[in-house]
């Protein structure tokens, strides 16, 4: 083999490696169009990100005056009027973390409904409503706070964070039963 052949082979190998690099990068970017997407409502409680299935959320409302109902635990501050219907309000911060939600301009009431049970859910703020692949839901890690474990459905990566997916039905059941 002469010097010209060597040079050609080296060029050929370099080119092939470059092409392989490009192919590997592209493979990461490929999105499986067949994977099922679902809508999620992402909200903030304290410093942590949480999510509900979008299918369980009927409406997101700005904070409004809650009419106090005596005899209820602290996590149910009262009732609100939604277009002529009376709905309960659950303070999720108080229910899960034992810390009452402070009213700010970002405070929202998520109207959730699951299996004939409907209630407003008070949260610090709603961050986003978006479609995410169902395959992204991972089993929850065991290091979560014990107060959360009864209501955990899973975790979802979101930007550089991890969303804690909460099961509305389990929350309602815990209150009703």
């Amino acid at each position: 083999m002469n010097q010209t052949d060597d040079s050609f082979s080296k060029k050929y190998i370099d080119k092939t490696e470059d092409l392989l690099k490009v192919a590997r990068t592209r493979k990461k970017e490929i999105i499986d169009l067949d994977q099922k997407l679902a809508k999620f409502v992402i909200f903030l409680m304290g410093q942590s990100y949480y999510a509900f299935h979008g299918a369980d959320v009927k409406e997101i409302r700005h904070f409004e005056k809650i009419s106090f109902v005596p005899g209820c635990p602290d996590y149910i501050p009262g009732v609100i009027n939604i277009r002529g219907e009376i709905e309960s309000v659950l303070d999720l911060n108080e229910f899960i973390r034992g810390i009452p939600t402070l009213e700010t301009s970002k405070t929202r009431i998520i109207i959730a409904e699951k299996r004939d049970l409907k209630s407003g859910i008070l949260v610090d703020s709603v961050i986003d409503v978006l479609d995410l692949p169902l395959n992204d839901i991972k089993k929850p890690i065991s290091t979560h706070d014990i107060s959360l474990r009864d209501y955990l459905e899973g975790e979802i990566p979101y930007k550089d964070k991890c969303l804690v997916l909460l099961d509305i039905e389990k929350i309602f059941e815990k209150i009703i039963l």
Partner: protein, 135 residues
């Protein structure tokens, strides 16, 4: 064939509205025999009941100024329910009355609240006075 006695269902309830800590409570006027101010109250022969205590208000929310008493006569018992003040007497149509939401029904100790009414967009908790007086 035996005829069922005809039941008269009122489509309006005359309701006494009282305001407590910015919340409004309504009571059926048919359950109330009289309304007294503090200086008119002759408590002899009456059981005295505090509205706040019976409805399980949190202790820090209780107003100390009790200005009125509601007379409830359900013989042989005569009871005086102490409240802080009256607001109005309104006739509430059944279409304005809504059931207690299930989450609240499941957890509240105030079982005497039997429904909520919407009057001019404001939420009023409707209280069954007779149930309130049950132990």
């Amino acid at each position: 064939m035996k005829k069922e006695p005809c039941k008269i269902v009122p489509n309006k309830i005359d309701t006494l509205i009282v305001t407590v800590m910015e919340s409004s409570f309504g009571m059926d006027m048919a359950q109330i025999s009289g309304i007294l101010s503090v200086d008119q109250m002759d408590t002899e022969g009456y059981d005295i009941v505090n509205f706040y205590e019976k409805l399980h208000f949190p202790e820090n929310a209780v107003c100390d100024v009790l200005r009125r008493g509601l007379l409830i006569e359900r013989l042989p018992h005569r009871t005086l329910i102490l409240i802080d003040d009256l607001k109005d007497i309104v006739s509430i149509g059944i279409e304005c009355i809504h059931p207690v939401p299930p989450l609240i029904k499941a957890v509240t100790k105030a079982q005497a609240i039997w429904a909520f009414a919407l009057v001019n967009g404001k939420i009023i908790s409707l209280v069954d006075v007779y149930q309130l007086l049950q132990k």
